[in-house]
Symmetry: C2
Subunit: 245 residues, 2 copies
DNA sequence: CAGTGGTCTAGACCACTTG
DNA sequence: AAGTGGTCTAGACCACTGG
């Protein structure tokens, strides 16, 4: 009485695609032949091939662009919560291209909720900025930053699509934000967030928020960001769960 | 020049299913009519209906069991990372049925990696235990716990399928584990983990690990757990990201 | 053993990207 | 304008669940 292993075409095709990538030495963002071409060459039904491709997409190994093609997904970018590495530092470390687009930047007055978070009085001037950050051309992080504008007057006068915010804080204002607390969770994108990050609505993304403090313990920055789960991998220092008993 | 809104059948059908659930007052675990029945009654192609069902499944609104049927998914169980609420406390709070199965329980010697995590010397006696915990009959959490066995001698003599581990620590050993650090990430199930949690291999699950300390700062417990993403929702106390500008 | 969800085949139209 | 992925139709077989 032995379990019959009737391997399904979908899984075989998925493996075949992975082999193809290796054999052809396809690099990240490398293009696969079109679905119809593969179907013909491999004698497949398109639905079966698409099912295999979908599997590899959810596994983070492929991505596809309507009207264009199917491509090899680049490895996820690793970020660590322990050290306070900014995304620009992480991108530099991994040799990635980081572009930043400022969606919103204004001086606002501290609200009740922000006042709690940052320990500032109501009405205190804050610099609020929302930025969309792209890794290797793919929208990856949607970031909302609040800065104590009274501690860094004129902070709003630079274009943080071009200049590093942290470098400005350090060089122009002598603020070295070394102490911080971050926390992570998962949420699902709203319609608007999905459009900005170029993912469907209700896609699971990492939600990271945190505060940065000056050396004398004052909160200068509060931020929250959405990070695409298909592009990032948040590693803790822990051993992999695969090392279970 | 207006964008034409040609709503796709799939999305219409998905909405129709949601309406059906409300109209028929279907409760969690309530059964939908069979796919073929719905196709006939609503004049649909089965592939289209299945596409709609798949969408609702990834959104956590339905689940299906091969050979049996498609059912209304119960709301996800909420857990919070900030407070150190155990899963049994969370289950009680939400009025859910929690069952625990011990897969492995033994005294082992502290390894190099564990020694780093727990700040204990190599060879220190640890109580290692792996448990599978089920919510309302569905395998939900795969948990691996390491306890400082020299601080709680005889800890291995109870059946933690029946008795609360934390209650035992508190009552029998006077250990109130109030201080802890947890961290969360995403990983993908191995074949074995998938079988235990009753999900396919390579399913995305939450990976939570953490350490619990005594009041005098000694690490007594190190744990890591896999939590099915379709059953849990991890919330932080922070404002929702939807409140972005 | 009848009914279920899971899968596969074969063929078609659509909106979009790209040369 | 040609080619691409995304979707839809119609019909079929499979392994499994449950009475």
């Amino acid at each position: 009485m032995q379990k019959t292993y009737r391997s399904r075409p979908r899984d075989e095709v998925a493996e075949r695609i992975e082999c193809y990538i290796v054999e052809q030495n396809l690099q990240p963002h490398g293009k696969l032949p079109s679905e119809r071409t593969l179907c013909e060459e491999w004698g497949l039904n398109r639905a079966t091939l698409r099912s295999a491709i979908r599997k590899l997409i959810v596994e983070g190994k492929l991505y596809s662009q309507a009207g264009s093609g199917t491509y090899v997904a680049p490895p996820k970018m690793r970020r660590n919560l322990q050290d306070m590495e900014t995304i620009s530092e992480a991108a530099r470390r991994e040799g990635r291209d980081l572009k930043t687009q400022v969606l919103y930047a204004e001086i606002i007055e501290c609200t009740k909720q922000l006042s709690k978070k940052m320990q500032l009085r109501l009405g205190h001037k804050l610099f609020a900025m929302q930025r969309l950050r792209s890794i290797d051309g793919m929208p990856a992080v949607l970031e909302l930053t609040y800065l104590d504008a009274e501690r860094c007057q004129g902070i709003e006068n630079k274009d943080y699509g071009q200049v590093s915010l942290y470098e400005t804080l350090r060089k122009d204002y002598g603020l070295a934000l070394k102490n911080g607390r971050e926390s992570i969770g998962l949420t699902y994108t709203s319609e608007q967030e999905g459009e900005l990050l170029k993912v469907p609505e209700n896609t699971a993304v990492f939600f990271i928020s945190g505060r940065m403090f000056t050396e004398d313990g004052h909160c200068v920055e509060y931020f929250k960001s959405l990070n695409r789960a298909d592009l990032f991998q948040f590693s803790s220092e822990l051993v992999s769960p695969d090392e279970s008993i």
